[in-house]
């Protein structure tokens, strides 16, 4: 007899943003995310309720993936931000902070959300137009002919994550290594379709950061049975390589129920089949035998006795790298012989010592485009953060290759953009208001909220009570530390480093009312260079994501939850 359960009806929240509990969660999230922003960020220790591993981080992708919000609207936001980070690698926190600030600005003023959304969309168009225009002053060209701006881009990316625990010299070294690794992934042959190679990151815990290094090709964990003498006996390269994605452990991989007569021995039969594969591979003169999964010990022994270097349990990620570097095709079955064209080639084999970890180094034959970045760090938590950071920076550098432009970092882009939009909206208030079907006052209020949100993103970079200023000439961001008296004569340069302080400059504290001004392009002297740079594509998309998701959240009238 089945039991009948009474279904409870769905719960509906009317105008969720007016609910105090929801607002409190929004505020908590804004606080958490904003405090993770920038090189002086406050870190978060994340663990689960049953005492799992603790990760100390201020990285968006780690934090948002580990902490699922309970509020549906916030879930929406984190999902969007995570997707953005997946595509662009960077500026996730910026998107989250901006999105949450926009929502906060509108709800706090209690203004009409639909008008606000329309104004936001319009201003976003203006931002986009300005950022992509040739005379935009918030961006700089990335000169691909020299490594200076690429290095600045990498350096900004590495130094923005304090949980990596690097001192200035180490930051410089890791940035240089990242750039070196990136340059090695650019194929040098001029074929029709250029495909960027990849950097594989290997972490070694317990070693000094200065032992980190870049190797062309791939590094695999050395199989226990391999000795350096075995490699010497191989003679000169290149070496033929057989690659398997199928498990060669010799078990019955079929699913479901099976009946076997007691007279037969399926294991022996399977092993015989495996040995036939081994026999064929040896006959085809392969020197390397790699498998994504487990290889039966008997097959391993058979191959080793015939001078073949065997590596098992590569993992799916490494399998892809080996495929692209050696040209081998991974065999998905052990039932058919390996076709001749499925073998790959490796130029040289050697054993590298990365700190205490012994690794087998596979060097590519021609066009390398694959390299391995070995990262060493004393502390496991710091190493984890460093690995994530390095992958992020690699992503940013790749994007810069496609679109060689970078945005000013350190909050300067945000303040500059805010000043520009403020100027435009004041100038054309009447015209735009009639376009958007609202009163000029409503338009100015919503525009003010938009600019304040941008400023809030710049403000969030300062966590130690310092005073954040904006100059009234170029609209750049300046920081005066908390324990120093506010004296504008002590200000030397803006946060991004492009503008040096000069006589006759005026400042205002960020967020206060100031006279209207149109930010000027930076002075033309070539000595000053921006030293803090952000990824242009990542940040531009983040701006879009933030405004879109804020609009969506502001548009939600009901939240309906199925309670069953």
């Amino acid at each position: 007899m089945s039991r009948v359960c009474k279904r409870s009806g769905p719960a509906c929240t009317d105008r969720p943003l007016s609910d105090r509990a929801v607002r409190a969660k929004f505020d908590a999230w804004r606080h958490v995310v904003a405090s993770c922003l920038g090189p002086r960020a406050r870190l978060k220790q994340v663990r689960n309720g049953v005492g799992g591993r603790v990760s100390t981080t201020s990285t968006c992708s780690v934090l948002l993936a580990a902490v699922p919000p309970s509020e549906p609207l916030l879930k929406l936001l984190t999902a969007c931000v995570l997707q953005h980070v997946q595509r662009f690698g960077d500026a996730g926190l910026f998107a989250a902070v901006l999105g949450l600030s926009l929502v906060d600005q509108v709800t706090r003023r209690g203004s009409d959300s639909s008008t606000a959304v329309r104004v936001h969309q319009r201003l976003l168009e203006l931002c986009d137009l300005y950022l992509t225009s040739a005379d935009c002053c918030a961006k700089v060209e990335v000169d691909l002919g020299s490594c200076r701006s690429l290095l600045a881009l990498a350096h900004s990316g590495v130094s923005s994550k304090p949980a990596c625990g690097l001192d200035p010299a180490e930051t410089q070294q890791v940035s240089a290594l990242l750039l070196k690794a990136f340059l090695q992934t650019i194929p040098c042959g001029s074929t029709d379709t250029v495909r960027l190679g990849e950097t594989v990151v290997v972490g070694v815990e317990g070693e000094a950061v200065e032992n980190s290094a870049v190797f062309p090709g791939l590094l695999l964990d050395v199989p226990e049975m391999l000795h350096s003498g075995d490699l010497e006996r191989l003679g000169p390269g290149p070496y033929k390589l057989a690659l398997f994605s199928a498990s060669l452990s010799g078990d019955l991989s079929e699913r479901g129920n099976m009946e076997i007569h007691t007279g037969t021995d399926p294991e022996a039969a399977l092993l015989e089949k495996l040995l036939k594969v081994g026999e064929q591979v040896v006959r085809d003169c392969a020197t390397l035998f790699l498998c994504q999964k487990v290889i039966h010990p008997v097959l391993q022994q058979y191959l080793r006795e015939r001078g073949v270097v065997v590596v098992e349990r590569l993992g799916i990620a490494m399998l892809e790298q080996v495929t692209s570097m050696t040209g081998a095709q991974a065999a998905a079955t052990s039932h058919t012989p390996v076709p001749a064209e499925a073998f790959g080639w490796v130029e040289a084999l050697s054993i590298q010592l990365c700190g205490t970890r012994k690794m087998l180094h596979l060097q590519p034959t021609a066009n390398p485009a694959v390299c391995t970045l070995v990262l060493c760090h004393r502390n496991e938590s710091m190493l984890d953060e460093l690995k994530v950071t390095c992958k992020r920076v690699q992503h940013v550098l790749q994007l810069a290759l496609k679109d060689p432009v970078a945005l000013l970092g350190g909050g300067c882009m945000e303040t500059h953009l805010s000043a520009y939009i403020r100027h435009l909206s004041r100038r054309d208030a009447a015209e735009m208001a009639s376009d958007l079907d609202c009163s000029p006052q409503e338009f100015l209020l919503a525009a003010d909220g938009f600019c304040r949100s941008l400023e809030a993103a710049a403000q969030a970079l300062e966590h130690d009570g310092g005073l954040v200023l904006m100059d009234l000439n170029y609209g750049h961001c300046w920081v005066c530390p908390a324990d120093e008296e506010l004296d504008t004569s002590t200000l030397l340069s803006c946060s991004c480093g492009l503008i040096n302080s000069s006589a006759g400059m005026e400042w205002t504290t960020l967020g206060s009312t100031h006279p209207d001004f149109c930010p000027r392009p930076p002075p033309g002297d070539s000595t000053a260079r921006a030293c803090v740079l952000d990824s242009f594509p990542a940040k531009r998309n983040a701006l879009n994501v933030a405004v879109e998701i804020a609009s969506l959240i502001l548009d939600v009238k009901y939240v309906i939850r199925d309670l069953n």
Binding site: K25, A28, W29, H31, V32, S35, R40, A41, R42, L43, K44, Q45, V46, R47, N48, G49, G51, R53, V54, T56, V67, P68, P69, S70, E71, A163, E205, G206, M225, S249, D251, L252, R255, G256, N257, M258, E259, I260, H261, T262, K293, V294, H296, P297, V298, Q301, T356, R378, N379, E380, S381, M382, H463, D464, G465, P481, A482, D483, E484, L492
Partner: protein
């Protein structure tokens, strides 16, 4: 649902740093040469552990907070890498954490604390670089001090005397000089060992004994580097008194039953095979899994059919007999029935052999480790193994057992047997042995040592004070140095002073920490005046002698350079991580759970 626990609040309150300070206080008793045991008993009173080192303490605690877990992670990582120095790591993590807390309380911003402490650590590391003494210089100084054979390590000297009269070195001068050279080098090793023994003379003499056996086995004369820590294993022996601890060539195996008296049957040189994994019919290599729905069916009713296991055992025995194997090493468990049958055929099966030992025997005997007995062939068999009875031991007359040594001709493996009548002390004794072994190992690796007993720390204090007074030009950004640098550095100085005074107090030189602190302060003032040029690189033993006279006659102790530097770095890493953290986020909690029903918490 996730919960945010704020760890820092506005005015000098930082829960994380407070937790760090609280957790590390428990390890203060483990500093210095005379360590005190701690009993850890769980709430129910059923489980207890006797610990005598920082890492064992943390290992046995139930650490619920994130800071505790981070601390444990860092300490265990350091222990894995160096096997010593966790005491100073723990102490300084706590002491410098307290310093950071004090800075916060005085309203210094986090970036300034970070910058100040990094600067302070740089000063300390510079002191370590300058004060490190090379082993050669230390040995020269040691000879100058004591032309007589060095005291302390009695077993070392006694062994030496025995060798001089040994018959093997029968004739005349050439042999004699070679012997002298060997003795000298042997003595050098002993001398270095005394420097880093840190009061554990018994454990250190075991290390030296192991080293001596190693060099005798390898037949090499360059004893200076002969201590190979990878070729040392330990074996704990509950029952006999601690004096029965010793080092033996080869691998020590317990034979725990009636087999013991049949050991004579395993005489002469034997052949060996090595098996990775279990020796049983059902064992399959890692990664092998048959689908769960597999069933064996039969069309004949055959109740008398011999089991698969019997068949398998016959096969294995047949293979072993054919290959003429005398000893089988298995890393996993071995099937009991098979072991018995092997024994009847004079084959010794040893189970649960550590992989490192297996590797060593593979290298020494030429045996190739395999996963299954069916894989065994002539190529896999190693030779030249001997089994010798060592001593009879047993907790009770009924459970009589025999310990035997398994040796291979070219193997340098030495097993150190650690005996104690108190079973719960065995782990601490074993840790102590490994601590000594690694200190000696690091000393030989680094080729230099740091004066211990707080001398380097006091030198750091002096240099940090200089830096506090120093001119402002060192700042990097061009701004004048703020007053905060002095406060931060003073915090670090206090941490180091606390360390030295705890060491002195623990070693019984002073009755209280305050006395120790005052005495050190006086000493520092004096040396500030007298030795203006102190702290220059090189052998500056006079300076050290002064510090020692302040500390009383502790004997000269030295520390490993690499271990100390790393411990300091890791301690500060930890402080930085915790200091920069403003919240702990706990995910996946049930909001209905009463445990989380507190006020003032943020839920996400």
């Amino acid at each position: 649902m996730s919960r945010v626990v704020p760890s820092s609040s506005s005015r000098g309150q930082h829960v994380g740093l407070q937790q760090l300070a609280a957790l590390t206080t428990a390890a203060h008793a483990f500093l210095g040469p005379s360590k005190r045991y701690k009993f850890i008993v769980d709430d129910g009173g059923r489980d207890s552990a006797l610990v005598c080192s920082g890492f064992r303490l943390l290992e046995n605690l139930d650490l619920t907070c994130s800071v505790g877990q981070l601390l444990n992670e860092a300490v265990q990582a350091h222990q894995r890498a160096f096997r010593s120095g966790t005491g100073s790591l723990l102490f300084l993590a706590g002491a410098w954490g307290k310093a950071a807390l004090e800075c916060l309380r005085q309203g210094i911003a986090v970036p300034h604390i970070l910058a100040g402490m990094s600067e302070g650590l740089d000063v300390c590391l510079q002191v370590c670089r300058e004060r490190a003494l090379s082993l050669e210089d230390l040995l020269k100084a040691g000879q100058r001090d004591s032309p007589q054979p060095r005291p302390r390590l009695l077993s070392a000297t006694s062994r030496k005397i025995k060798l001089t009269h040994s018959r093997h070195f029968g004739s005349v001068e050439t042999q004699n000089s070679a012997l002298q050279q060997k003795c000298l080098q042997d003595a050098d090793l002993s001398y270095v060992a005394t420097l880093v023994s840190h009061g554990c003379n018994d454990a250190m003499s075991l290390v030296l004994e192991a080293g001596r056996i190693q060099s005798a086995m390898s037949g090499k004369c360059d004893t200076f580097h002969s201590f190979d820590i990878d070729k040392v294993a330990t074996c704990v022996l509950p029952g006999p008194s601690e004096e029965h601890s010793c080092a033996l060539p080869g691998y020590v195996v317990h034979l725990t039953d009636e087999r013991a008296f049949l050991i004579e049957r395993l005489a002469g040189r034997l052949q060996i095979v090595l098996l990775n994994g279990d020796l049983s019919e059902s064992y399959r290599h890692v990664g092998f899994c048959n689908p769960p729905g597999l069933r064996y069916v039969s069309d004949a009713l055959d109740v008398h059919r011999v089991g698969g296991e019997e068949e398998w055992m016959d096969g294995v025995l047949g293979t072993l007999a054919k290959l003429g194997v005398g000893v089988v090493f298995v890393t996993g468990a071995a099937c009991r029935k098979l072991t018995d049958r092997c024994w009847r055929c004079d084959i010794l099966v040893v189970e649960r052999v550590r992989p490192a030992v297996l590797r060593d025997f593979a290298g020494a005997t030429g045996a190739v480790p395999v996963a299954y007995a069916s894989q065994l062939s002539k190529r896999c068999v190693g030779s030249g193994v001997r089994v010798r009875p060592w001593r009879r031991c047993g907790a009770s007359p009924r459970a009589e057992s025999l310990a035997v040594t398994v040796t291979a001709e070219r193997a340098a493996l030495v097993t150190v047997v650690i005996a104690s009548p108190v079973r719960s002390k065995l782990q601490a004794l074993e840790d102590r042995f490994w601590g000594c072994a690694h200190r000696l190992h690091h000393a030989l690796e680094d080729g230099k040592l740091l004066p211990g007993g707080g001398v380097v720390e006091l030198q750091c204090v002096r240099q940090l004070r200089e830096r506090m007074k120093g001119p402002a030009e060192q700042t990097k950004c061009g701004r004048p140095k703020g007053p905060y640098v002095a406060i931060v550095l003073q915090g670090m100085i206090n941490g180091l002073m606390d360390y030295v005074s705890t060491v002195m107090c623990n070693s019984g030189l002073f009755s209280s920490k305050a006395d120790a602190w005052a005495a050190i302060n006086n000493q520092l003032k004096e040396t500030d005046v007298t030795s203006v040029g102190a702290g220059v690189a090189g052998l500056d033993l006079s300076d050290q002698a002064e510090c020692e006279s302040a500390a009383g006659e502790t004997g000269r102790a030295y520390d490993n350079t690499s271990v100390k530097v790393e411990a300091w770095r890791r301690a500060l890493d930890l402080v930085f991580l915790v200091l920069q953290t403003d919240a702990e986020i706990i995910t996946g909690i049930d909001i209905e759970d009463r445990k989380w029903q507190h006020d003032g918490l943020m839920f996400l």
